[in-house]
């Protein structure tokens, strides 16, 4: 009985459970519209296309749970793809060196975000908004507005190809494997001492500091992790679809929404990495559902906004209730 109730609370109540319920509902909707979606190949195609957002959500989760924002990820993804195209310029042999340069660039951007936020005490909202503009402007300046060069076949492999000839599913995308590996890494990382410090910094900064935790170092590391996730996402998105001038645009809002949808509280201190990633999956599934329903394109953002607000409000309502009950009737 209690177990059933606890399960019920987990699923319908507490912020993190709601996202799984939402995911189930959306998938049920897709199943009703088009049962073919759950056949191996099309499911794999869905996961391949969702992988970059899931990875970005994991990176954003670290930053949000420690009490900050990273608005620069969309611009960083765009910058990384443009840098890759320009530096590789179609030469296969440059693939790996350029990927290392991108990784260094992603870490560098994360480090700058983190240090400005923690050392200079600039609010992360402002720091990363500034970084968004700097990256956007610098890339426009560098490329004159239109990206040049092209990506190599090897660069495009992780985002576009996979292990072929697998029974039932057809192809297991590399992007899915990368997503699973990084997702598992994110979950494990939150169980370490570092993870607990990160959570504590978002929950109560002062208490965390007084108990001897190096809050600033942990928060800076969170920004670096976000920068790395944007780099990986950039490699996958660039690989998936190639270079375009618009790549990455608006991703920061999609990913923050995904994380919040996963029940991670803005302001930090609450929520799990798994739920944040499930939030990203839910957003991608929602886009798919809209497509299956052939919803007029002009109506979609509005419906999407309503669903997000409703889901988060629902989670908030359920979350406040147990606390009230516990004071009223301790049984």
């Amino acid at each position: 009985m209690t177990r059933a109730r606890r399960l019920g609370t987990a699923l319908l109540g507490g912020g993190t459970g709601t996202v799984f319920l939402l995911l189930v509902l959306i998938f049920a909707g897709i199943l009703a519209m088009n049962p073919g979606f759950f056949e191996g190949p099309s499911l794999m195609a869905f996961l391949k296309q969702a992988a970059p957002l899931v990875i970005l959500a994991a990176g954003q989760y670290f930053v949000i749970v420690s009490g900050n924002f990273d608005l620069s990820v969309g611009a960083l993804v765009g910058a990384q793809v443009v840098i890759a195209a320009r530096l590789i310029d179609g030469e296969e042999s440059r693939t790996v060196p350029v990927m290392l340069v991108m990784l260094a660039f992603g870490i560098g951007v994360g480090l700058v975000n983190g240090l400005i936020t923690t050392v200079l005490k600039v609010q992360s909202f402002i720091t990363t908004l500034g970084m968004l503009l700097v990256l956007y402007g610098a890339i426009r300046l560098w490329t004159g507005g239109a990206p040049t060069g092209s990506l190599s076949e090897a660069f495009r492999t992780p985002g576009r190809l996979g292990i072929t000839g697998v029974p039932v599913v057809g192809q297991i995308p590399w992007a899915l494997l990368i997503m699973l590996a990084l997702g598992a890494g994110a979950i494990l990382l939150m169980r370490t001492r570092f993870g607990r410090i990160l959570m504590a910094s978002g929950d109560n900064e002062l208490a965390a500091k007084l108990s001897g935790a190096r809050v600033d170092a942990a928060r800076t590391a969170a920004f670096v992790l976000s920068g790395i996730s944007a780099t990986v996402a950039g490699i996958l998105i660039g690989g998936f679809a190639g270079v375009s001038a618009q790549v990455g645009e608006g991703l920061e809002f999609t990913v923050i929404t995904a994380v919040v949808l996963g029940g991670v509280a803005l302001g930090g201190g609450r929520g799990t990495a798994l739920a944040a990633m499930a939030g990203a999956l839910a957003i991608e599934a929602l886009f798919t559902l809209f497509n299956q329903m052939a919803l007029p394109a002009t109506l979609r953002p509005a419906v999407q906004g309503v669903i997000i607000i409703a889901a988060v409000a629902y989670a908030a309502r359920r979350r406040t209730r147990p606390a009230l009950q516990s004071t009223a009737s301790p049984s």
Partner: protein, 400 residues
């Protein structure tokens, strides 16, 4: 509890931002807002007379030398400009640009600057002053006002960000007594000395749609990919396509807004392919066309019959795959015309009141010729940019 509330309120606000975020960069927000009924949008943007005129203009032989299409004009009505005649070659020409926010505008902007260099060396114009409004109407209104107030512009070129909002600013400029040249998108006044534009959106959309109808069996399915709603030149393309598809036996599976984002395009096309066959792709602009083609490759489906644009990445993919395709053109060489028109006006030479430039799609017949001409050019470059004879070619466009 308080903080939780606050946090969720912020989350809700973010959701709203996400919902509206994709329309904030629309240069025509006002037009985009009342598009709730998709069935009505053909009526809202479709003007039969303009549609008929543009489709007819495609078959009219333009006046002028075909080797310099940027100086050709379709059925020009010449106007006298002796009132603006000016002695000496040091005229200051000012240019208020809407933005360089997409590769098509970047390509054209380079061409314009190279043309200006030639005119400056020839002593036809002196200073060339420019402002970039970054797709912001208010910014462009104040840019134009600043040019007018300075009193130093001998001619003003405007590439308007949106039609209705920029009209009063252009009227003010006309009233100051200097010649005003409007190009690309129009304004709701004919006070400008000349309005330069290619045939237009209806012709573009019709070129693409007619090709699909001709090359597909009756009953075939077509997916329409569109950049964003509410921009007149793009809405006209789709309105024309709807007319032509409506009169044919083609089934339109859907029309999707992609923001021109390659990843979005590939997602959408992949999802349609999961549900069934797509025989043709119609696009209102070629951005991301290659991603659409790759979606067919990755799904193991045969190539569609396709209408892209004269963007090189698409044209190269077209050649490589040998697919059945057409590249409709929204003549990028129009960026050369305004500065040339300015020098003509300042010399007191006649110009067409409405300068309609030719707009011819690239077909399989002349595709290879254009690819060869543009062999050194980057992927996001437009084949009919018309700058091959300028001294800056090819470096200025290649090393952008």
């Amino acid at each position: 509890m308080q903080t939780t509330r606050l946090a969720f309120a912020a989350a809700a606000a973010l959701g709203l931002l996400l919902a509206t975020g994709c329309t904030t960069d629309t240069p025509a927000d006002d037009a985009a807002t009342d598009e709730s009924a998709p069935a009505a949008d053909s009526g809202e943007w479709f003007v039969q007379a303009e549609y008929d005129e543009q489709l007819a203009q495609r078959d009219i032989e333009p006046e002028g030398d075909p080797n310099t299409p940027w100086l050709q004009a379709i059925e020009p009505e010449w106007v006298d400009t002796t009132e603006f005649k000016r002695e000496g070659g040091d005229a200051t020409v000012c240019f208020s640009n809407a933005s360089v926010s997409n590769p098509w505008r970047v390509t054209g902007w380079i061409t314009m600057q190279e043309q200006v260099k030639v005119l400056q060396e020839a002593g036809a114009i002196g200073e060339f002053r420019t402002s970039d409004a970054g797709d912001d109407d208010d910014q462009q209104i104040s840019d134009i006002q600043a040019f007018v107030d300075s009193g130093e512009c001998d001619a003003l070129i405007v590439s308007p960000s949106t039609t209705a909002t920029l009209t009063p600013a252009v009227e003010t400029a006309c009233a100051s007594g200097i010649p005003v040249i409007v190009f690309d998108r129009g304004v709701n006044t004919d006070c400008a000395t000349t309005f330069i534009h290619p045939i237009g959106g209806y012709a573009y959309g019709a070129d693409a749609a007619e090709f699909l109808v001709e090359n597909l069996e009756p009953g075939s399915t077509v997916l329409a990919l569109r950049i964003l709603p509410g921009v007149d030149v793009l809405e006209h393309r789709w309105a024309a396509a709807q007319q032509i598809f409506g009169d044919s036996e083609i089934e339109v599976l859907g029309n999707e807004f992609t923001g021109g984002d390659a990843a979005e395009i590939k997602n959408i096309v992949s999802q349609y392919l999961q549900r069934g066959d797509v025989d043709g792709i119609w696009m209102d602009a070629g951005d991301g066309a290659v991603a659409a083609i790759e979606a067919f490759e990755d799904a193991g489906k045969p190539y569609p019959v396709m209408a892209g644009e004269d963007e090189l990445s698409f044209m190269r993919k077209w050649e490589e795959t040998g697919m059945t395709a057409i590249a409709p053109v929204y003549s990028n060489f129009q960026w050369r015309t305004p500065v040339l028109a300015a020098t003509m006006i300042l010399n007191g030479e006649q110009v067409p009141a409405e300068w309609v430039l030719p707009q011819e799609p690239i077909t399989a017949a002349d595709r290879d010729e254009y690819l060869e001409r543009n062999a050194d050019m980057p992927a996001l470059h437009y084949a009919k940019f018309g700058g091959e004879d300028l001294p800056g070619f090819p470096d200025a466009w290649r090393d952008r």
